[in-house]
Symmetry: C2
Subunit: 257 residues, 2 copies
């Protein structure tokens, strides 16, 4: 028998509780290899480390589980795993998370969790990013773990065509209040920042980002934001062609020469 | 008369030659405000700084030109400018670049230049990322500057509907060998890494990313990669709905419950 190999990463760092929960619920599905950042890398998007060396350190090696810490970004972790550490082994599934905080709607663009999941999709292995709609350090990952296990089980059984990348977000609910899983589309909207301003002890002003999400279609019922707000886990299939195909022709009239 | 206000940023840092060239060619179009990273931030994608304070420092203030350095990422620079520094002023155009290196094809996802341009598009102002297909420090920005000026002129005249974000890439050619401007779509493909491995003086192994781009459609003639390879500047209109709409239905059959 060929045991499955499942690669995990995240953006909250190798010690994060969301990752521990993901390891726990996915161990029954196969051999787990984790390469995760050596500290928090939230908001790192699809960033890669171009101007610094990367270090990789083995933290655990036990039956069914290997854990490594990497000094880079979440996307670096995926590249280190798939193009170096596991380059001679067949990887059956890539998962990222479980993130502390929602990555629904336009958050997919800022998210290190989803940066890693999207990069994973480039290796022709089903790749899934999991996030819980709760930023707090003591967030309850009970329901999110159950959702992750169920989605992984269905994807491993159904073997959908690759490349496949899913953005899964789980509402902040107890398992008994969970409504179900909905495949949906990314909600339109954007963030506006209200900078928090203070002075440091030297008298220099500094700023922190403190934004708010503006939902551009609060009444649409087929979006990830709607699903989350109504107790469902949202699943958005992800593609990476950013071309605005509808505008090619009119812009050609303005710019081609 | 209301002078135009043009906001500029980049990912190579406030001192980069590509930014200097962009300032030079765009000054005739209006008042320029630059907020750019205080050092190189290549490969930062759409990253934001969540766990550290941001500092903003004025470097120049002269007729027609204000320049600030920001301690954050390219996207942080856009947010600092549009939601803080310029919040009471009407911005007419946002440009990012000129980047040292191509951001065609899937590079759009890793690029700090394009992260900033995409963020700029969220402010309902035409937003354009410019990149030159030449990484070298002494790259020749002559042609790229002319292309930037021409595209900016046409966009300011045509006033296309917003949100509008363009990914412009300029080939490494002398102005006399430049073939023209082509609106095209993002080429499919991905990177594979061949890690460069060395040992540091303490005997610890370290790695550098040294990837190669695999073009998945080298024969297609309507892509940005084709345009660049044939002496044209490529212009790809950008949208940010990552939903793979074609897969919603079949995945719903597998996952909805």
């Amino acid at each position: 028998m060929n045991e499955r190999l499942i690669f995990l990463t995240n953006d909250d760092g190798v010690g994060a509780r969301g990752l521990a929960r993901l390891i726990e619920v996915l161990r029954p599905f196969g051999h787990i290899v984790v390469v995760a950042p050596d500290g928090a890398r939230s908001g790192m998007s699809h960033a890669i480390t171009m101007n610094a060396p990367l270090f990789l350190r083995k933290l655990r090696d036990e039956p069914g589980l290997e854990v490594y810490a990497c000094s880079g970004t979440p996307v670096d972790c995926v590249k280190m795993a798939l193009d170096h550490l596991l380059v001679d082994r067949r990887v059956d599934l890539i998962c990222s998370g479980i993130n502390h905080g929602s990555n629904a709607a336009i958050n997919v663009l800022y998210s290190g969790t989803m940066g890693a999941a999207i990069e994973g999709g480039f290796y022709n292995v089903p790749s899934i990013g999991f996030s819980l709609d709760d930023h707090s350090l003591d967030a309850d990952f009970e329901a999110a773990g159950l959702v992750a296990a169920e989605i992984v089980s269905r994807i491993l059984d159904a073997r959908p065509a690759t490349p496949l990348c899913l953005n899964v977000n789980v509402p902040k609910v107890r398992p008994e209040d969970f409504k179900g899983i909905r495949v949906c589309r990314q909600c339109r909207g954007h963030w506006r920042e209200d900078f928090f301003r203070r002075q440091n002890p030297l008298g220099h002003e500094y700023f922190w980002l403190t934004g708010a999400f503006k939902n551009a279609e609060p009444d649409a019922t087929d979006t990830d934001e709607w699903a989350l707000a109504h107790g469902y886990a949202s699943v958005v299939p992800i593609q990476v062609d950013l071309t605005d195909h509808a505008r090619l022709e009119t812009l050609g009239g303005v710019l081609d020469r």
